[in-house]
Amino acid sequence: MGSAEPLTSAPLVQIASSLRRRRLSAVELVDAYTRRIAASAELQAFITPPDKRTRQEAQRAERRLARGERGALLGVPIAVKDLFATRALRTTVGSRILKDWVPRSDAAAVARLRAAGAIVFGKTNLHEFAYGVSTANPWWGIARNPHDSRRSPGGSSGGSAIAVVAGLCAGALGSDTGGSIRVPASLCGCVGLKPTFGAIPLNGTFPLGWSLDHAGPLTRTVDDAGVLLDVLSGGDAGRKSRRAPTRGLRVGVLKGSIVENLQPAVSRQVDAAAAALRRRGLRVREVAIPEMRWTVATQLVTLRAEASALHARWIRAQPRAYGADVRTRLQLGSLVAGADYVLAQRMRARIRAAMADLFHDIDVLLLPSTPITAPIVGERTVRWRSGAEPVDGALVRLTAPFNLTGLPALSVPFGEAAGLPVGMQVVGQWDDEARVLAVGRLLEAEAPTLTLPRKREREISR
């Protein structure tokens, strides 16, 4: 068998294939990743790193592979965001309140990964209770962007994105309530897929907003995301996407007030992505969804109310057990009037209807995943010509609309700006992940993923 180190940053598909062909040892791979995790502690990617039990899992996987057993992910190390319950493995949800919770069973998504042979490879850092997009976790460490450790990786699945980009696992599981898979994928430079609402079961996943929560994969390639999607959903959209025709597909490039404020470099990449798809034979035109101007308010009221309903007892009994930002959000949510929540749901229905109408005329929608590249840790405001915008609000401005509507949305790395990755978002009709992935694959082919700075890679692979 060959050395594992060169394969640590390879696509999951290649790793799985090398394991199946016995060209790579699952134990050596786990050891290589474990060394890299130790060398990249500064990034704070993990709350609970893999331990000796993980190595034992790898040994079992190796025996199964030697017997000729097959499984889509047999022996493949997958890092899991620390809000998915894992049997006999601490699950903190990034909080102090649940710091000692050891679940008795796996979340459904984790059970599906294990059933496909995956090794649960540690629990990744996240924003406390997934309620924020910085992963500056007051209890478990401030996560850092692998491209520039002064910058944020985004969140809330920040640890999962770091682990994928820094080559600390083969792929990762995340969750997305307002952009928590796609935002860190965009800021760190990996693929992040939020599938259609309900496509991946959420039993055993600690909720944030019941009507907005989605689970999904973070990976190094679109193919990898398809493989994990099929395992997690029990469907075949990933497989189908590899032969889905793309020539002649109708692409709408989103215009209008919601995308008026973009960093110039991000804006240029949108134009480049549209041009690339046109060259590939897709029919590209500009579209607008006026109702999207209500998405910020609708998402805010919906999420504040739902999260505070969930945390109602704790936020009243032990407010100091929360970090400052999450405490403020939960306290604010406790003040949302029932009538305002109903109003937001009425508006949500209008937004959903507008998007359903639009998808009669287009097959996929193209827009950036985030209007900015990775901000400096602790930066609070983005300044535009038209005024200031909170960083947290800016980061989810273009992702949250698809949590409200439940449409599948993929973030794919597309070029860079001053050494930082830019993420492009492809959104499709409900249950049309196959087309979303197929178009994502075209973008991926046009713009090679930004590699880690050499200095960082040297530090990690020492």
Binding site: V296, A297, R316, P319, T328, S334, L335, V336, D340
Partner: protein
């Protein structure tokens, strides 16, 4: 009768069963004002629809 925004927020928090310190109120106030402004946008946008059912 509450008169300032801070007092209004304190009163609303008490009614919701929250125990807020003076510092908590100060921390919460900007977010609360932003929230009220956003809700106002939604109310304004919903008005034409609300009158539909009155006829």
């Amino acid at each position: 009768v509450p008169v300032t925004e801070r007092e209004l927020l304190s009163a609303a928090a008490r009614a919701a069963g929250l125990r807020l310190s003076a510092a908590d109120v100060v921390a919460l106030l900007p977010a609360w004002k932003r929230y009220l402004a956003l809700v106002e946008q939604l109310r304004a946008a919903a008005v034409p629809e609300e009158t539909d059912g009155l006829g």
